[in-house]
Each structure stands twice: as C-alpha cells, then as structure tokens.
C-alpha cells in the first residue's frame, strides 16, 4: 500500500504492516477444508446479531407490562420489524449451529492439542458467554416459555450452599421472576455481545500466535502455506454464500419453526405450561440436568457437561497427528459421542413423565461423561496399536522428533535447576 494518505497514517499507526501481517501475508495452510469456514461464519453471525439487536432495541420496551406487546408492535407496525426480529431469532439458532460445528471440527481434527490449548479455552469461554447471552435474550419477549425458562434456570443457583435462596432473590431482584428481572436481563443482554467481541479479539490474537491447524494435523512447512488474502477470504465468502442461503430459508420461509408456540402466550406467573422445553441448543444439557435424580447433582452435572470440553487437551494422550482422520478408534468415539448428544437432545425435548425416557436419559448421561473419561486410556492404547500396525515413515519420524525435543527440553530444565543448586 502506498499513497500520501496511507503514508501519513503509517507514520502514526501500523496500518499497512497490520494488514500485511494479519491478512495479505498471514500464512494459512493450503489444505484447509470447508470445515475451517465456521469460525469466520461465527464472526459474521455475531455481527448480524449485534446489528439486528441494536435496531430491535430501538422499538422494544423492557417492562413486564409492555414487553410482550412491544414484540407484537415490532412484528406488525415497525417497518421491516418482522425481518429484524426473525433475523435475530433465527440468528441465535444459527450462532449455536455454527459454533457447534466449529467445536465438532476442533474435536474431530484434534485442533485443541498443543500448542492450541489457550485458543480452545478462550473458545470455551466464548461458548459460556454465548449461552448466557442467549438465555437472557430469551426472557425479553416475555412469553410463557421465556418466563418459565428464566424461572427454572435462575432457580439452579438455589443449590449454592448456605446462601442459595438469597442468591436466587438477588439474581431476580424479586421473589419470583418479575419486572426487575426483565430490566436487568435486557441491560445485560445488551452488554454481553460487546464482552463477546472483546473475547473474540483475544481468541483471534491467540489464533494468529499459533496459526490455524489443518486436516493433516502436521504443522506445514513455510512453502505449504498460502496468504490468507485472497485465497481464504474467497473461500470464506463462498462458504458465507451457502450459509446465507440456508439462513434466508429459515428467516423467510420457516421463521417460527424454531420458536416454541407456547411463547406466543404472555408470561403468567401463576400457571406453568404443561411442557416446558428450552431452545434446541440447550436440550442435551437440559437432559443431563433432568437425568440426575438429585437436584444438587443435576446442576453440577449440567455445569460439568459444558465444561468437559476444556479438559480435552489433558485427556487426549495420543501423539498421532491429525485427530480422527488418522485415528480410527478416536473417529469411532467421535461419532458415538455425536449420537449420544442427539439422544440427549431428544430426551431433553420429551416430557419427563415417561419412565423409559428417564432411563434412556440416565444411560445417555452416563455415556456422555464416560466418553470423556475413557479418552486418556483409549487414546494411549490406540497410539500403541497404530504404531505396531505401522505408520507412514514421515509420521513416525515426526513423533520421534517431537519426543526428542520434549526430552531435550526436560534435560535442559533439569540442568538449569542443577545449576541453581
């Protein structure tokens, strides 16, 4: 880049070097598949949610007596209000879908492994913030599902030892979910996306420090990397086109398919709907909550179920690169886990009064946690088996080199410690 204006800026702000370093010269593995599009897509959905959200907030009224009607106002009277609202509601589902695929890709290809642990953990933090934002936003329409969803989830904090009841009242600002709860949820629902944007920047800084993983699981030589721009901007934009087609089908043709009909009834604190369900993206975790017969245990299990992913860098002990692609047993585990998630999702959706479903939920919950706990043992056994079966020459060499490096580093550390003594 050149020109007097760019020059003027570059003397005061590292614009050209930043663009060069992070975009036009940023080395990206040439073999990234379309599964690597989803981080970019998540960024786009975040922008869509913030944009539609800000305009919705211009017409929405965060007051228990007005909230429900102000949604009707947005739907019927505000110019393109229906579009803004459907984009925002569908966008929430799209956000979770994109993030789930993004996480599944990370798990499948083992992208969470060294040196990308912090990248994975900042992502885990982003997931928690996204869940909190989605949960608080769901109260705002002030329908029956909104109200009872917020009631059930704030009630979870009752299990806090000693001060549980006070915490629940403090969170709600009332003895039950009410006007004060609604106004604070609105305030925080507006704040959280900006915290998420901050955390996304941290996530990206971590990414640009360790660079993208790739399907082979091997860090490529410099000549096998290509600049992010124009190659991956083009690939990401192509993926965005596909995504927007699916997104538009939902927004324009089936916008209510993901909204529970019961939420079109105004919140009534005196009557619980006969069947309350969370949004689809919370169903597996909700099923885990319900599957544990003890309340404290249920809440702990649900919290743990979301956090289990963070332990993966410790649990996976195999040194074979490339995740599931080169590890048949890990691949099997991955697909079994996906099936288990789907079963849990189904269990979370059906009413708990069916005894058989409760049993299925408990088995699936056990399998959920078991599939994490077996990873350390299975991954090591699988590694030994794969080595015995014979690996491609380069891979074996790579693993041995990594092993030698690790030992050298340990020796070095030991020597330094010795020097100090």
């Amino acid at each position: 880049m050149s020109g007097p204006i760019i020059n003027w800026i570059d003397k005061r702000f590292p614009l050209t070097s930043f663009v060069k370093h992070e975009l036009t010269d940023y080395p990206t593995p040439r073999n990234l598949s379309y599964w690597w599009n989803f981080g970019f897509l998540a960024g786009i959905v975040l922008v869509l949610q913030v944009a539609t959200g800000i305009f919705l907030a211009m017409h929405y009224k965060a007051d228990a007596t007005l909230a429900f009607d102000s949604i009707q106002h947005i739907m019927r009277e505000v110019n393109y209000g229906w579009l803004l609202r459907y984009m925002h509601a569908v966008g929430a589902s799209a956000f979770f879908f994109v993030i789930f695929v993004h996480m599944a890709r990370t798990l499948y290809y083992g992208s969470f492994r060294a040196p990308r642990e912090l990248l994975w953990w900042t992502g885990q933090g982003l997931l928690l913030m996204l869940m909190a934002t989605a949960f608080m936003g769901y109260l705002l329409p002030w329908g029956q599902m909104s109200f009872w969803g917020a009631t059930v989830i704030t009630n979870l904090f009752k299990v806090t030892p000693f001060i549980g009841d006070d915490i629940v009242i403090w969170l709600r600002g009332d003895y039950s979910v009410g006007d004060d709860t609604l106004t604070r949820f609105f305030s925080l629902h507006y704040l959280f996306p900006f915290l998420i944007i901050g955390a996304v920047i941290v996530h990206l800084v971590a990414l640009h420090t360790v660079k993208s993983s790739n399907p082979s699981g091997i860090d490529l030589k410099a000549k096998d990397n290509i600049p992010f721009h124009p190659y991956f901007t083009a690939k990401d934009l192509y993926g965005l086109g596909i995504f927007l087609i699916v997104y538009s089908v939902f927004v324009f043709f089936i916008p209510n398919s993901l909204i529970e009909p019961a939420n079109n009834v105004p919140a009534n604190p005196m009557v619980t709907p006969s069947h309350i369900v969370p949004e689809w993206y919370f169903l597996p975790f909700y099923a885990i909550l319900r599957s544990v017969p003890n309340m404290f245990g249920g809440v702990v299990a649900m919290a743990l179920s979301v956090m289990m992913f963070a332990f993966m860098p410790f649990l996976d002990r195999s040194r074979i690169p490339g995740g599931a692609r080169y590890r048949p047993i890990y691949r099997l585990q991955f697909y079994l886990f996906l099936i288990d998630m789907l079963v849990l999702g189904y269990v979370g959706y059906v009413p708990p009064t069916n005894h058989n479903i409760v049993i299925v939920g408990q088995v699936a919950t056990f399998c959920y946690f078991a599939s994490f706990f077996v990873v350390p043992f299975v991954s090591k056994m699988e590694e030994n088996w794969l080595i015995k079966r014979g690996l491609p020459e380069g891979i074996m060499e790579l693993m041995e080199r990594e092993k030698r490096d690790l030992e050298a580093r340990k020796e070095e550390q030991g020597r330094r410690k010795g020097d100090r003594i």
Partner: protein, 169 residues
C-alpha cells in the same frame, strides 16, 4: 549503605502492600451499592402480605392466590384427604401433617416446586409438577423426586374462621 537501601526497600514493599490492600478494600466497598441495587426494591418488598377469603372455597376445592409474586395454594381438604395426609409422614422429606397446617381442613402451601420453581398442577390426590415430574401429596409433601423438599408453608394466620393473612405468622 547497603542496609539503607534494604530498609528503604522493605518500607517501599510495605507501602505497596498497604496501598494495595486499602485500594482493594475501597474497590470492594464501592461494589456494595452496585450489588445491593440488584436486591429486591422497596416496592417489591411491600407486596409481602396477602389477604384470602376462605368462604368461597368448597371442600376439596383449591384456590391459587398471589403472594410475593408467587402462587400460594389454599386447599380445603375433605375428611378423607385429611385422613390420608395424616396416615403417612411423607417419603423424601418426612414431616407430620400436623406440623404443616394450622387447621387440618385448610392446607396453605407455596405453589412453587422446590426443584426448579415451576408451578405444580392439582392432579388426583396431590400435585404433579410437569417440568421435571415431581409429585406432592395433599399435605404438599414430596412423594416423588427430583424435588428435594416439601412445598414450603408460608407464614400466615387466621384473622377469622373464613379469612387468613399470608405473610405474617
């Protein structure tokens, strides 16, 4: 000379620690109003008493009234229901029926499931919570989990034979 520097260093370290502690305490103290502002407001606290006229509730009938924004079940129990309630002590959270009522024919309990806060529905004898499947008997005692505790009995007193005040014992 070296001693001077060292003592100076000690004093500086001490001052740094002291300033950090005082500054930290100041920040913590400044958080109190913010945290406290999220607690129930005065007008929310003022909703704390509800009067209920019992004369319109037939035997076997149940009325739901709002107290502190929460539903309270007022159940006019029949002699059979009283007998059934007195026959057992409950299962998960045992408590004699006599301790849960002031007059055996009137059961007054907060209609909020002790599990996740849903409102149970009156079904046959007792209540069923449709959120997670908990069941309560006609004394408001939990007979099937996941609810850990019996339905709470609010503070109340009989103003006359046909009138109670919920919120004050």
């Amino acid at each position: 000379m070296e001693n001077d520097v060292k003592e100076g260093g000690d004093r500086r370290n001490f001052l740094i620690k002291l300033t950090s502690v005082v500054g930290g305490a100041g920040v913590a103290a400044a958080c109190v109003p913010f945290v406290s502002s999220m607690n129930p407001t005065s007008d929310v606290l003022a909703k704390a008493e509800t009067e209920v006229d019992l004369s319109g509730i037939p035997p076997g009938g149940v009325h739901t009234v709002a107290w502190e924004g929460k539903p309270v079940f007022v159940l006019h129990r029949t002699p059979e229901e009283i007998a059934a309630a007195q026959a057992s002590n409950g299962v998960i959270d045992p408590e004699p029926d006599a301790k849960r009522v002031k007059k055996p024919e009137w059961l007054i309990v907060i209609g909020v499931c002790t599990h996740m806060g849903c409102v149970p529905t009156k079904e046959g004898p007792g209540w069923t919570c449709h959120c997670h499947g908990s069941q309560y008997d006609d004394s408001g005692r939990v007979v099937r989990g996941p609810a850990p505790k019996n339905l709470e009995v609010p503070p109340y007193h009989f103003e006359s034979d046909t009138k109670i005040i919920i919120g004050k014992a």
